[in-house]
C-alpha cells in the first residue's frame, strides 16, 4: 500500500541528488573543456568557443597558488555562463588592464574559495597575451547587491564577487561577498 509512496520518495530524492550532482559535475567538467579552449585563446583565436553552441569564451585564467586554485574566466557573467566558470563582467575593465576588472562566480562551486582568501593573499591573472598580472587582496567584506561602489572604485584592481552567506541553502539572497585586490608589481 505504502510501497508506491516509498518509491516516489526515493525517486524524487534521487532526481534531486542527480540535479545537485549535475550542477557540481557541470561546473567541474566545463573547466576541463575550458582549459582546452584557453590554449586556443592563447595562440590567438579571438573567441574560442569551448563547445560549438557556447555563447561565451575564455578571457583570462585565475590562479591562487596558496589555495591551489586554477580557473578559466569566461566572458560575461550571465547565469548561463556562471554555470561553467567564473565570469568577467563586460561592464568592467578588461581582465588585467589598468582599470577595475570585476569577476563573479558561484559561491557554491568555483568561488567557494573566496571565503578562504585573506588580506595580503596574492592572486594571479593570466591574460590572453600571456602576460601575468598580480594582485594583492586588500579588502574583503559583505555588501548589499545594490551597492555598486566596489565596481566604481578607481585604480588598477581586481574585484571578485560572489553570493553571501556561503552556506545558505537556497540561492537568491541579496548579500554579496566582495574581495578587492590591488595590482602589484611582479
Amino acid at each position: 500500500m505504502k510501497r508506491w509512496l516509498v518509491w516516489v520518495l526515493i525517486l524524487l530524492g534521487l532526481s534531486q541528488l542527480g540535479q545537485g550532482i549535475y550542477i557540481e559535475a557541470k561546473a567541474w567538467l566545463a573547466q576541463q573543456l575550458l582549459e582546452r579552449a584557453w590554449e586556443r585563446a592563447r595562440v590567438g583565436e579571438a573567441r574560442p568557443l569551448p563547445w560549438p553552441w557556447a555563447d561565451t569564451w575564455p578571457v583570462a585564467r585565475l590562479r591562487v597558488d596558496r589555495l591551489g586554485i586554477r580557473q578559466v574566466v569566461l566572458a560575461g557573467a550571465s547565469g548561463r555562463t556562471l554555470a561553467f566558470g567564473p565570469g568577467h563582467l563586460f561592464a568592467s575593465a578588461p581582465p588585467g588592464s589598468a582599470g577595475n576588472s570585476a569577476i563573479s562566480g558561484h559561491r557554491d562551486t568555483h568561488f567557494r574559495f573566496l571565503r578562504d582568501l585573506r588580506v595580503g593573499d596574492r592572486i594571479e591573472l593570466e591574460r590572453r597575451d600571456g602576460a601575468r598580472v598580480r594582485y594583492a587582496v586588500y579588502r574583503r567584506g559583505v555588501v548589499h547587491e545594490t551597492d555598486s561602489a566596489p565596481l566604481r572604485r578607481q585604480g588598477a584592481q581586481l574585484t571578485l564577487i560572489t553570493c553571501y552567506p556561503f552556506d545558505a541553502l537556497s540561492p537568491g539572497g541579496s548579500d554579496r561577498f566582495v574581495v578587492e585586490a590591488r595590482r602589484i608589481a611582479l
Binding site: L17, I21, A93, P94, G99, V143, S148, G172
Partner: protein, 710 residues
C-alpha cells in the same frame, strides 16, 4: 540471530541504496547534462523584439546593458582636487552674460592635475576663459582643438600652470588644470553669452549643474584601456566613441567633501515683474534698484540639479518684438525677436493620432517616473473619441501597448491608464528602437500625427538619434518632454528641432499639470510653418538659422543677423491653419547690447553642424566652423580655449598626478537603478543535494517500516 540478520539487512540496504543513488545520480547527471547543454543553445535567440537597423548592444550581466564601468588609474596616490563653483549672471533684455568660476584646491601633498567634466546650457556661446593664480590672471586664447591640447600638454610637462577648456557636446565641457601645487588653489573663470527662452509670455534661464550618468549603447571598442581626459567610468563604444570623456566619475556616497555652487544674479528685465521664481532652489532677493533685481541662492547648493529662474511681465505688458544690436569689429550684428499673432487654441481641434513614448530606464527611477506617469495620465485624459493613440515604453527594449494606434475609446483608454499605472523604471536606455517604433516614416497620414516623447535624455549617442529622427519623421511631429532634475537639454531641444516640434521641461511633480497644459496648448493650436524673412530694398543681412523652425503657440521668432538691416524693412511670412500669413516690420535702431555677435556666431555654428546631418561633408563644415569660431573666439567641437602661465612652478624632480573630479548623482536618482546590481552567484546545488538526501532517507525509513517486516 534475528537481530543480527536485521542489521545485516540494514547494512546491505544502505549499501545498495548508496550505490544506486550514486549510480543514478551520475547517470542522471550525464543524461541531464547532455540534455541541458543541448537545450541551452536555442536560449540565445528571441531577445530582440524590433528588427530595426539598430545595433544590438552587448547584453550586460549587471542586469541589462546599462552604464558601463571603468575607472582611471590615479597613477599612484595623491588626493583629487576639491572644487567650488561661483556663478554670476547678468541678465538684460533677451540675453545673459554668465561667469562661472571654478576653484580647484589641492588638499594633498603631491602636485596634481584636475580634470572636471561639467554641463553648460546647450546654446551657450563660450568665448572666454581665464586662469587665476592668486591675484594673477592669465587670459586664455582660442585655438584649433588639437593645437590647444598640444599647447596644454607641453605646459603640463614643463611644470607650468595651464588650463584647457574643451567641448564634448554642446552642453558638456571639460576643464583641465595642470600643476596645482600641494595646498594650492587655482581658479578657472569661464564666460559665456546666451539668449533667453521666451515662451507663452514667460522668460526663463536654465543653469545645469551636473552631467547625469549617461547610458552608453554599443559594443566596447578598442582596448578599453585608459584614453584621454575625463577619467570616465564608461568605456568607448562603437556607438559612443567618446564615452570615457562624457561620464565623469561619481562621488562616493560616503565622501565627506561635496561639490557646491554659489550663485548671484543681476536681472534687468526691462519691464515691471509680475512673476519671479526659482522652482527648484531657495533664492533670496537682495533688492531692486532702477529696474535691476539682485538675486542670490540663499545658500550654496549641492551641484546635483538644474537651476531655473522664471520671470514674466504683467498681462498686457508682454513684448511683441525686440531688436538688440551691436557694432563689433566694423560689422553690425542684431538679434531680432518677433511675436507672431496669437491664434489661440481652436475650439474644435482637428482629430489627431497621438503617440505617447515614455522612457522607463533605470535613470527614470523615483520621482522622474512618477512625473512621467502623471504627464501620461493628463495626455490620455485630453484625447477625444475622434482621436487615435498608442503608448510606447522603452528601457533595454521597446514595447508598444497596441500593435498599431487605436481609437481613443473608453475601453482603450482605461487599458492605457492601467498600463501607465503599472510602469516601473529599470534597465537600459535603448532609445533608437522606441523612436523607430513611434516614427513610422509615413509622409501622408490621415490624421495630424503627434509624438510626445518623455525622457531625461540620459544617453551618449545623441547624433545617431537625431539622424534617425530626421530619416523617419515623415509627416509626424516630435515633442520632447524633459523629465527629472538634470535632463539632457541638448537632446531635448535638438530632437524637437529635427522633429519639427517643441520641447518642455518638468522638474518636479508639482510642475506636471502646468507644463503639460502649456504643451497641450501647443499641440492643439495651429502651427506657423514655412516662415520666411524677405528684406525690402538692397539690404541682404546674413540670417541664422538659415531655415526658420516652425513656431507653436506662444513661441517667438528669434534670429541673429549680420550686416546692414537697411531702411526698407522686412516682410515676415508664413502659413498657419491652411492660410498664408504675412507681416511688415521695420527693425531699426534697437538697444545696444554687447555680445550679440557671439549669439550670431553660435547660431551659425549650430546650423553648420546640423548641415552634416543633412549630407554636407564633415571636412567642409569643419572649415567653415573653424573660421567662425576663431574669428569670434568661440569654443566649438573643433576649437578650445587654452591658458598657459609663462614660468614653471612645479620643480622638475616632482611628479604630477592626474585626477578626475568626482561629480554628484542627480537629485532623486538611485545608483543601483542606473548602474545595476551585483550579479547573482549561487546555484541551487546544495538545496538539491540536501533535499535529495532527505527524501531518499525518508523513503528508506518508510521502506524499513513497511516492507522490512514483510
Amino acid at each position: 540471530m534475528k537481530r543480527a540478520h536485521a542489521e545485516r539487512g540494514l547494512i546491505r540496504d544502505i549499501g545498495y541504496l548508496s550505490l544506486y543513488s550514486v549510480a543514478s545520480g551520475v547517470a542522471g547527471a550525464l543524461a541531464l547534462g547532455a540534455l541541458i547543454l543541448l537545450l541551452s543553445w536555442p536560449a540565445r535567440a528571441g531577445e530582440a523584439p524590433f528588427n530595426e537597423p539598430v545595433a544590438q548592444s552587448v547584453r550586460d550581466e549587471v542586469r541589462g546593458p546599462r552604464l558601463r564601468l571603468r575607472s582611471v588609474d590615479g597613477g599612484g596616490g595623491g588626493e583629487a582636487p576639491l572644487l567650488d563653483t561661483d556663478v554670476r549672471m547678468e541678465i538684460s533684455g533677451m540675453t545673459a552674460r554668465v561667469v562661472v568660476k571654478q576653484r580647484f584646491r589641492n588638499p594633498g601633498e603631491r602636485w596634481v592635475e584636475g580634470v572636471y567634466v561639467f554641463p553648460l546650457p546647450e546654446a551657450a556661446a563660450v568665448d572666454r576663459m581665464r586662469l587665476r593664480i592668486g591675484e594673477r590672471l592669465v587670459e586664455g586664447e582660442v585655438r584649433e582643438k588639437a593645437q590647444a591640447l598640444r599647447q596644454y600638454q607641453q605646459a603640463r610637462r614643463e611644470g607650468r600652470k595651464a588650463s584647457l577648456l574643451s567641448q564634448q557636446r554642446p552642453n558638456i565641457f571639460t576643464t583641465a588644470v595642470a600643476n596645482i601645487g600641494p595646498g594650492e588653489e587655482v581658479g578657472v573663470e569661464i564666460e559665456y553669452q546666451q539668449a533667453l527662452r521666451y515662451d507663452q509670455g514667460r522668460f526663463s534661464i536654465r543653469f545645469p549643474m551636473v552631467v547625469a550618468p549617461r547610458y552608453i549603447p554599443g559594443r566596447v571598442a578598442g582596448s578599453g584601456d585608459l584614453g584621454g581626459f575625463g577619467g570616465g567610468w564608461a568605456r568607448d563604444t562603437d556607438q559612443v566613441p567618446d564615452a570615457s570623456r562624457i561620464t565623469p566619475p561619481l562621488r562616493e556616497p560616503g565622501a565627506e567633501r561635496a561639490n557646491r555652487v554659489a550663485m548671484e544674479i543681476r536681472l534687468a528685465p526691462g519691464f515691471p515683474l509680475a512673476l519671479l521664481e526659482s522652482p527648484h532652489h531657495a533664492i533670496e532677493r537682495l533688492g531692486d534698484e532702477g529696474g535691476v533685481h539682485r538675486i542670490r541662492l540663499r545658500e550654496s547648493v549641492l551641484a546635483n540639479r538644474d537651476f531655473v529662474l522664471n520671470w514674466a511681465p504683467r498681462a498686457g505688458d508682454e513684448p511683441h518684438g525686440a531688436l538688440f544690436s551691436e557694432h563689433w569689429k566694423g560689422e553690425e550684428y542684431a538679434l531680432l525677436m518677433v511675436m507672431p499673432p496669437h491664434v489661440g487654441a481652436v475650439r474644435d481641434p482637428v482629430p489627431r493620432e497621438m503617440i505617447l513614448v515614455v522612457d522607463t530606464s533605470g535613470s527614470m527611477h523615483g520621482g522622474s517616473i512618477e512625473q512621467a506617469r502623471g504627464a501620461l495620465r493628463l495626455a490620455l485624459g485630453r484625447l477625444t473619441p475622434a482621436d487615435r493613440f498608442n503608448v510606447v515604453e522603452f528601457n533595454s527594449h521597446a514595447r508598444v501597448l497596441f500593435p498599431s494606434a487605436v481609437a481613443a475609446s473608453r475601453d482603450n483608454l482605461s487599458r492605457a491608464l492601467a498600463y501607465v499605472d503599472g510602469l516601473e523604471a529599470d534597465g537600459g536606455t535603448e532609445m533608437a528602437p522606441a523612436l523607430a517604433a513611434a516614427l513610422d516614416g509615413r509622409r501622408e497620414t490621415p490624421l495630424l500625427r503627434q509624438v510626445v516623447f518623455m525622457t531625461d535624455g540620459s544617453v551618449g549617442n545623441e547624433e545617431a538619434l537625431f539622424e534617425l529622427i530626421r530619416q523617419r519623421l515623415g509627416a509626424s511631429r516630435l515633442f520632447t518632454v524633459g523629465i527629472g532634475s538634470a535632463p539632457n537639454s541638448y537632446f531635448m531641444t535638438r530632437a524637437a528641432l529635427f522633429g519639427r516640434g517643441s520641447y518642455t521641461y518638468i522638474g518636479d511633480p508639482g510642475e506636471v499639470r502646468e507644463k503639460m497644459n502649456a504643451l497641450f496648448m501647443k499641440l492643439e493650436s495651429p502651427v506657423l510653418t514655412d516662415i520666411e524673412l524677405s528684406w525690402n530694398g538692397d539690404a541682404q543681412p546674413d540670417v541664422w538659422p538659415r531655415r526658420i523652425p516652425d513656431l507653436y503657440a506662444g513661441e517667438p521668432l528669434l534670429v541673429a543677423l549680420k550686416g546692414d538691416l537697411g531702411a526698407g524693412g522686412v516682410r515676415l511670412s508664413g502659413r498657419t491653419a491652411g492660410r498664408a500669413w504675412a507681416r511688415e516690420l521695420t527693425p531699426r535702431g534697437g538697444a545696444q547690447s554687447p555680445g550679440v555677435h557671439l549669439l550670431w556666431a553660435r547660431r551659425k555654428v549650430a546650423d553648420l553642424l546640423d548641415q552634416r546631418a543633412r549630407g554636407r561633408s564633415g571636412e567642409e563644415v569643419r572649415g567653415e566652423v573653424l573660421e567662425v569660431a576663431l574669428g569670434h573666439g568661440l569654443v566649438t567641437p573643433y576649437t578650445s580655449l587654452v591658458a598657459v602661465e609663462r614660468r614653471p612652478s612645479r620643480p622638475a624632480d616632482q611628479g604630477l598626478v592626474s585626477h578626475a573630479v568626482a561629480t554628484e548623482l542627480p537629485e532623486g536618482w538611485s545608483a543601483s537603478k542606473v548602474f545595476g546590481t551585483l550579479p547573482r552567484t549561487a546555484t541551487p546545488a546544495p538545496l538539491h543535494l540536501l533535499l535529495g538526501g532527505l527524501l531518499t532517507l525518508a523513503g528508506w525509513i518508510l521502506k524499513r517500516a513497511t516492507g522490512g517486516g514483510a
